[in-house]
Structures are given as C-alpha cells and as structure tokens.
Amino acid sequence: MAATHDKAGRPIVVVTGMGIVTSLGTGVEDNWRKLTAGESGIRPISRFETEGLKTRIAGTVDFVPVEPFCGPALCERIGEMAAEEAVSQSGIGSRGRFPGPLFVAVPPNEVEWPQRQEIGALARGNEAFDYENVLRTASTGAFAKYGSRFLFASIADRLADTFGTQGSPISVTTACASGASAIQLGLEAIRRGETDAALCVGTDGTVNPETLIRFSLLSALSTHNDPAQAAAKPFSKNRDGFVMAEGAAALVLESLIAAKARGAKILGVVAGCGEMADSFHRTRSSPDGKPIIASVRNAIADAGLTPDDIGYINAHGTGTPENDKMEYLGVSAVLGQRTKDVPVSSNKSMIGHTLSAAGTVEAVFTLLTLAHQRIPPTINYHVPDPAIPLDVVPNQARDAKVAHALSNSFGFGGQNVSLVMSREAA
C-alpha cells in the first residue's frame, strides 16, 4: 500500500485543484498553452495616464470587468475566478461550502487615488484640503461604501463568504513571497492535522499610478517600454528591472488520505517548504546569500529530499540586477556541481511579476511543469550574463523528466520562502 505519510510521519499533502488568471488569460489550460509557447502578457498600460512616468508597461489583467474599478475589487474578482476554477476542478465540498480554512496572499489594501480624490472633493468643500476636513466628514456616512472595501482584511473576508471556507480566513502578506507563504500556511495546517483540506489563494491587481511610482522610485522596474514584450529579461546581462503585473492563482490542498478517500484526481504533491528571514537590508539580500541558501536548503530538507533530487527550479527570477545575481548565488551554493545541469526558468519573463500572487501563480506553473513534463522557457534571453551560468531554458519550452521541482519566492523586508513540489507522492 502506498504511504499516506511522509518520512517525518506527517500527512502527505497533495494538490487536487488549481486555478489561475494572469495577463496571458483566464484558466489553467489557456495560461499553460501560452506560457509554453513563450507568449508575453506584458503590454503598454492603458488603464491610466502614463505621461511623465519612466515605466509605462505592465502585465495588467484588463479583460476582467470590475465595476466600480479599484485594486481591491480586481484582487477579489480574479482571486475568486482562480479559486472557482480550483475548487471546481477538485470537486471538493459543495457549492458555497469548502471544508477547510482559507489562506489568501494579498497586497496591502488602501484607498486609491480616484477614491481619495472623491473623498477629498466632498470633504473640502471650498476650503483648502487637509485631512482635518476628512475627519469632520468621515462619520457622515457619505463614504460608508469605502468603509469595508478598503479595510485590510476585506478581500479575504469576501472570499471566505463566497466559498464558505471554515474558520477565520488569514490574509498573509510577506511582500513578493506572499503567495508561497499562503501555500505554506495551508501545508502546515494539514500536517498539524487541523484540517484535511485548505484553500490557498494568491491575488494581486494593484497596477495603479502610485504603486507603479513607488517601485519606480526604488529603481526596481524595467524602463524598457518598447517593445513591452521584451522588457522582462531575467538572467540576461541587459536585464534592467522587473515588470509589474497582475494575476491570481489558487490551489486546493488536501491530505493524500482525504483526497484518495473521495477518489479525487491528484495533480501533484506539495512536498516541502522552507524559509529564512534576512536581516541585512530592507530591499537587498545579504551579500553572502546565506538566507536564500538556508531557505532553499530548508525546503529540500523539509521535503525529505537532497539537492540531487531537484530536477527543475522555477526561479523567483524577477529580472532585477540584484535578485537574479543573488538567486544564482543561492541556487549554485545548494546545487554545487549540478548547477549548470539543472534547468532554471523564470515565468516572469512572460507574465511579469505578479507580486503578492507570484508565489501561488508560479506554484501552479511548477505543478503543471511536473504534470506535463515540459519546462516553460525564460523568454527575452538574448544576451547571457556570464556571471549567471545557468541553463535558463532560453526562449523555447523543453520537454524534460522532472520528479521534484523547487519554486523560489523572495520579497522586500527579508522574505525568503521556497517550496518543493513533486510529481508523485514518494
């Protein structure tokens, strides 16, 4: 009889449902086809005026109507679409009743400029604006509609209602590692025996002027505006920053026992997770790469594997000069002599950096890589960086035999999370 528990005696955790929305489109099938064809979802921003901005491109999700439009509403809607696909595929629970907790990776939620302008205009009357005006009018109820919409936990709260998840939904934010943290929380809850299933969602729909400008002021974004599709150049010598993007993904995690008991199709295994915080700098990694190395090693060890077992790495691969250099340092320290033989590709070359959703989006793509035994490429790879001698699966997808894959997520604030996923339960 196949094992139901891992080497450490914990329940094996499998994936029985996946859903995804990115700038490439809606749904697992469409996304996978375009991703493996090397298509880019990056385009000139049409959502708002970009005059005067250094970066005028992004991987926006413009094909999902949200009315009235604001970031949290888009996050909620695309998160819901991804979760709907995942829950429906898994066949778990019943409509409006998911038998487990919800973990949602979300961006910080805050009032945006259209609403701020509206509030400001109403509050100030004929006076010069300051926040005292807003305080005098806040309690009149004129802005009640923004009361819950912009509360920090509102996206998770509404998704919990929609899917009928159990208990208190957790909104997790670990910057660009959030999506991986959401999966980690689900994995741990099932391993603790608290639940047989968990719904893990990552969502980000925050391409707006201020967010773009904030990243721009930190010199984090590519300014390669034309052609937009060529802007994201992970691991290339001429890489010049990441491209902001939107997207959402969802995973239904279940214990192997529970999944088998109900005859669910098993799509892959979440075998391990590792993390290590970096205390070096708010936006830069420790120059010795130790926290990244520890995060990767912890994940592989947590999965009961060794670095030799890893056959593919879905890189964080943002395309910033700093990230790709540090990720290479970390990965090569762990893989040692095998470094040049292990394919390492970056989905972000095509879909951009989906920020809070990235860890979940890229976990879905990693699981698809394992399921299809086909590795999506790193596109826009025309000028190799001699300092990063990796097999980045340049420009063309490739068939390969992969049993275990690693997905890295790193974020501002010293966040490092790595996931190990396997094709089949060991």
Partner: protein
C-alpha cells in the same frame, strides 16, 4: 509525543499610553485613572503613546528614519519582548525565532496627499499632474513604511530575528490568528520559539477616517468601554505588543522562566448578524471550558466599545458570571496588536495573582477575591473575527 509539548510565555514587550514595560502598565492599571492618556484628534478620542526614547531599542538613527511611527512602535515593543525573554542579542536564539506580525497597511505622507488633492482640480491634465507630483514628492523610502510586512522586516534588521517572518494583515482577526498559529506551530513541533504581536499608530488621520467611514470610532468625551452606550466606538490607540512564546523544554534548556503558560488559542469568523458574535464566543468558550478552574479564572476582554460587537460580548460575558476586565478602557484599541496586548496584560495579572480594580460603573467588571490562576483573553473584531486564548499562571515573576 506532541501531547507533552507545552507553550510558555517567556517574555512580553508592551508600549501604550500607559507607558512601556510591565511595571508601568501594572502601576497605571492599579491607579485606576483610565482617561489620563487620552487626547482628541478631530472629533475622535485617541490614546497616543507618550514620549518614548526610541534610541533604547532602535539605536541607529538611520533605521529610525526609514520607519514610520507604527514601525518604530512595533520594533520598540518587539525589542522589549526579546529583552524580557533574554533572547535579545543572542544570535543563535534569534536565528530560530519564528516571527508572526499582525499589521494593517502602512502610513501615508499626508502633506503630499493634501498638496495633490488641492492641486488636482485646477490641473490642466489631472492624471499627468498626479504622476508628476507623486514622482517628485513621494519619498522613495516611504514605500517601505507602507508595506505591511516591513514591521517584520524592520524587526529582522534591528533585532536580528531571522528564523522566519510572516505577516498577517487586517484588524483584530490578524492579531488573534497570529497568536493562534504561533501556538499551534509550537504545540505541533513546527516551531520552538516565536515572537508574535503587532503595532498600531492610533494617531494616523487617514486611518481614523478609514475606520470612521464605517462609523466605528468613539467621538466626543472619553468613557470606559462598557459605559459608551448609546454612543459607541473604539478609541483608536497607539500600541505595540509582542509575546515570546516558547516550547517548555526549549525554555528549560536555556534556563528561561515562564511568566505564564499559553494553553490554548482559537479563532472564528462568526456571522455578523444579530446574535452572531454571542454564538461565536459561546462556541469558542466550549472549547476551553473543560480546562477552567472554577473561581480562579477571569476574562480579559478585547471589547473595543464598537457596537454591536461590544454589546454582544457584554451579553455573553453576563451569562458566564466571571470577573471581567477590558484593558481597552485604559490602553484604547489598536485593532491588530490588541489581542497580543491583552494577552500580555493577562500574563502580567497572572504574575501578580490578581486583577486590577474594576473600571466600570455598569456592573460588567466586578471584584475578584480568589487568587487568579487563569485568564481567558477574548478578541472580538469591530467588524469581523472572534477569538479566545487561555493563559495559566506559572511560577515566574516579572522583574
């Protein structure tokens, strides 16, 4: 195996309008003057923190400059907690400390906002004007004060906490779940040592407005939380609160003393319709009821003063007939750190073996003559989320 594991609170770090650290808090609670730390911003009653010498926990001025107030408050309180547990400055222990922070979203540059809002109506191309002003006026480092996870990031940088770093976002439930998950991980053997808590800047005007869009804030004059009806609302507070939760054997190996035992923590998301909070609290209470010692336990309520949540909690507590204290009457309400703050104050009461005097004329808070050996901490979100934690006395004492 896992059953034998036990979680101790081996450190607390608290900062509020009552001051900093356990002694200042206990003394002010015993003094019984809850309105001394309040002030008014616009129509709202708020509890600001007093003067704090941030250099004591955040020695580099460069670090302080990169933080906004909520991060300074939190990083300071986290430092107090690490110090209290004897972990501060110990690289081996800090490298295995798992951090869970409850946070909102960060602060704004109100002057920049005001300039833009004032200038937009007369701008020829408002959208281009917005871009130009944001590009020119936003401080690049402000972003790092706005990101929710950058309190945790600053704690890593300033204090060297690197085991792991997770931030739960959003109001009281984030604070409750932070404690719940930290405890669950320790009891299950997923973690040995945790730093858990959060921080809130109660004086942020943009946040005050946000909370009062929903009508949740206390306006006019200060009153203790149980005495606010028919007016209602929470008094926004600047708070920093962190707990060190540690597995017993781990603590014993390094000779750390327990201030209290963290026995259980549960959360729920009750339906917010009439009776929903009461029902949720009743369900949660049933989970801990078998562990309670008659006559020796009290409730530290997270009641905020916001209705209908506080009214429903009052009705639930009346059914129990146990001694109750709502520390929010003294420290105000900071949604994310409130649960950790009340757990820290409960720890403090357990080390003294007694409650502080009632602060209420409506009969909810009563005297308790028996020795206090257990405290149930409640958390009831002003709009969502409920939770309970059970703490028990240990032999340790706060110095």
């Amino acid at each position: 195996m896992a059953d034998a594991r036990e979680a101790w609170i081996t450190g607390i770090g608290i900062l509020s309008c009552l001051g900093e650290g356990p002694q200042a808090h206990w003394q002010r609670l015993m003094d019984g003057k809850p309105d001394e730390g309040t002030k008014t911003i616009g129509p709202y009653v708020v509890h600001p923190i007093g003067a704090v010498d941030f250099d004591k926990q955040i020695p580099k001025r460069g670090d302080q400059r990169q933080m906004e107030p909520w991060q300074r408050i939190g990083t300071y309180a986290a430092g107090l907690a690490l110090e209290s547990a004897g972990i501060k400055g110990n690289p081996e222990l800090l490298a295995e400390t798992d951090m869970i922070v409850a946070a909102g979203s960060g602060e704004r540059d109100l002057a920049v906002d005001a300039t833009i809002i004032s200038g937009l109506p007369s701008a020829k191309n408002p959208a281009a004007y917005l871009n130009e002003r944001l590009m020119n006026d936003l401080r690049p480092t402000l972003f790092l004060a706005q990101l929710s996870n950058l309190l945790a990031g600053n704690i890593s940088i300033v204090h060297g906490v690197t085991g792991s770093s997770r931030t739960f976002m959003g109001e009281e439930a984030a604070g409750i779940d932070a404690v719940r998950i930290a405890l669950a991980r320790i009891l299950a053997g997923q973690s040995e040592l945790a730093l858990v808590g959060g921080a809130h800047n109660g004086e942020r005007k943009d946040l005050l407005a946000q909370y009062d869009f929903g009508g949740y804030l206390l306006k006019g004059a200060y009153r203790p939380v149980w005495q606010r009806a028919p007016a209602s609302g929470f008094a926004s507070a600047s708070l920093g609160a962190f707990l060190i939760v540690e597995e017993r054997a781990h603590a014993e190996r390094r000779g750390a003393r327990p201030l209290a035992r963290l026995v259980a923590a549960f959360s729920d998301r009750g339906e917010r319709k009439e009776g929903g909070v009461r029902l949720s609290l009743r369900r949660l209470w049933e989970k801990i009821a078998p562990s309670l010692r008659p006559g020796q336990h009290a409730v530290f309520s997270g009641a905020s003063g916001a209705e209908p949540a506080t009214g429903e909690e009052r009705a639930f507590l009346a059914e129990l007939g146990v001694a109750v204290r709502a520390p929010g009457s003294y420290v105000g309400h900071g949604p994310e750190p409130q649960f950790a703050m009340n757990a820290a104050l409960a720890t403090l009461a357990l080390t003294h073996g007694k409650l502080y005097p009632p602060c209420d004329t409506t009969g909810v808070e009563k005297n308790m003559d028996e020795k206090l050996t257990q405290v149930v901490v409640t958390g009831v979100g002003h709009w969502r989320g409920e939770g309970l934690a059970l703490l028990e006395a240990a032999q340790g004492e706060l110095t």
